[in-house]
């Protein structure tokens, strides 16, 4: 328990100390929110889909979470490069606990970023239908954050250096984000795309956000949560297995 706590605390301290990381990682979601929100808003409305900002905001919260959490997971490579990983690897504690602590830390950071973006989305006029839904929303944010930090850790355990980072961004994170229904509705898509979005775990996260915030999801909350829990458990087991096999 202590191991998990101290690893979690370390992630959080590092996050709170790098102000540039906090501000920097908010730039992209805000840009998406404003550029897409205002840029496509009127077209979206004319197509009879309602207010685009209301639709987009949960998607951008999801985007913030996937980017932040995968990046947190990838930090394993950074720790390997700059030596700190060795310190944790020679410590007499189980690597499973180290991995869990790191992952929960990453998930917490992602959730904080998600909440900040949620608040920023209020400025261009986004309003949740029921403010009390924020509490279950935060729990689902944590779940999605845990899922993707574990995925990031699993991948990072297999990589020697940061060279593969662009590969992960372009062939994993970007597709997961664009094919999740974060920026377009999942209804009325070509069948191939429908199939792909069904395999994208992020779409269930964003769908759950939409159900809670604007009551407009395409799946049911039960399905969303079940899929998220199952995928999170899979990623956690794979991630902790690969992390425990890391040799320096």
């Amino acid at each position: 328990m202590k191991t998990i706590y101290i690893m979690w605390l370390r992630e959080l301290k590092r996050y709170l100390r790098s102000k540039s990381r906090i501000v920097g990682s908010l730039g992209q979601p805000v840009l998406f929110l404003l550029a897409l929100g205002y840029g496509l808003g009127s077209t979206f409305q004319k197509a009879g889909q309602g207010n685009y900002i209301d639709f987009l905001a949960p998607g951008i919260v999801g985007m913030t979470i996937i980017f932040t959490s995968i990046f947190s997971g990838i930090q394993v490579i950074w720790d390997r490069q700059f030596g700190f990983l060795k310190e944790t690897m020679v410590a007499p504690v189980s690597r499973f606990n180290i991995m869990i602590g790191r992952t929960l830390g990453g998930a917490t950071i992602a959730t904080i970023q998600g909440i900040i973006v949620f608040c920023l989305a209020l400025i261009p006029g986004f309003r949740p239908q029921n403010w009390f839904m924020i509490f279950p929303l935060i729990l689902i944010m944590l779940l999605v954050g845990t899922m993707f930090t574990a995925l990031g850790t699993a991948i990072a355990s297999q990589l020697e250096d940061m060279q593969g980072f662009q590969l992960i961004m372009n062939f994993l994170v970007m597709p997961l984000f664009f094919l999740s229904g974060a920026i377009f509705p999942l209804s009325g898509l070509p069948p191939v795309l429908v199939l792909i979005t069904k395999f994208d775990p992020l779409s269930y996260g964003i769908d759950a956000f939409r159900i809670l915030l604007s009551n407009s999801g395409v799946y049911s909350l039960t399905l969303d949560i079940s899929v998220l829990v199952i995928i999170t458990l899979i990623f956690l087991s794979v991630g902790s297995y690969l992390f425990s096999k890391v040799q320096i």
Binding site: K2, R10, Q81, V90, P92, Q247
Partner: protein
């Protein structure tokens, strides 16, 4: 005195490359033991196997009566280590780095805080306890790492080229401290270095490794008599030859080069 480290027929292969080839040696409890060899000879690989970071291809290791492969956590409790490259968290303060270590090694809070204060005073960093490690010089980082390696009162302290990049003052201070600790606490010290003078002066026994094999062991005098030379440096060169060794760039070097090339990075 009993042996605290016993290595028998230890071997490590990476693909076709044999980094450590069938080595055997013992280190007695309370001894200061130096492990010398040219770059790429297998020193760091051996230390990694002794400290549970790598699993051997074959052969056996007994460290403080435990096997690192079968019982890694018992072994991990019994040693402290100062790595060749810094392994501190730059974004945490000096004190936080030690606190983190203390929690991982499950040292009870009161005792932990007391030892952190003692050790930080000892390495003369107590007045900098709340500074972030990234503000520290190389020597200060080394001192902090030594303090950290000793925090859980290990039986063995591994030092992988601990004095590299340190000025003579810091080096001297460090060894005085470590020798004192060796005498008062009986802590076994296992170190590697490229400074032959240092090895000759500090180590009670020396092993010379080259191309993954131990080619000589003994005291500095024994090695000199054996090779009919008058200093350890000459003995070392006679044993290992004058050819300069090439070592493959590791991932960190590659990354640093990459960052420099991109014009970014603080390092």
């Amino acid at each position: 005195m009993s042996n605290i480290i016993e290595v028998k027929n230890l071997k490590k292969q990476f693909g076709d490359f044999t980094a450590v080839n069938d080595i055997s040696f013992e280190v007695k409890a309370g001894e200061i033991f130096a492990f010398l060899g040219p770059n790429g000879a297998g020193k760091s690989t051996t230390i990694k196997m002794l400290t549970t970071l790598l699993s051997p291809t074959s052969g056996s290791i007994i460290l403080n009566n435990n096997n690192p492969v079968e019982n890694p956590n018992a072994v991990r409790h019994s040693f402290g280590i100062v790595f060749q490259d810094p392994s501190l968290d730059d974004e945490l303060t000096a004190w936080e780095n030690l606190e983190f270590h203390g929690v991982l090694y499950n040292i009870e809070k009161g005792l932990r805080r007391k030892r952190i204060e003692e050790l930080m005073k000892f390495v003369e960093l107590w007045d900098r306890k709340n500074s972030l490690v990234k503000e520290f010089s190389g020597g200060m980082k080394r001192r902090l790492e030594i303090a950290r390696g000793l925090l859980h009162h290990p039986k063995i302290l591994f030092l992988d080229e601990p004095t590299i990049g340190l000025d003579p003052q810091t080096r001297n201070h460090m060894w005085t401290y470590l020798e004192e600790l060796n005498k008062s606490e009986g802590i076994t010290i296992f170190f590697t270095t490229h400074y032959m003078e240092e090895a000759s002066k500090i180590a009670k026994r020396i092993a010379i490794i080259d191309h993954g094999k131990i080619i000589a062991t003994g005291t500095s005098e024994e090695l000199q008599i054996k090779t009919e030379t008058s200093s350890l440096e000459e003995a070392f060169l006679k044993l290992t030859g004058n050819v300069i060794r090439e070592e493959g760039a590791n991932a960190t070097d590659k990354l640093r080069a990459h960052r420099q090339w991109r014009g970014g990075g603080k390092r």
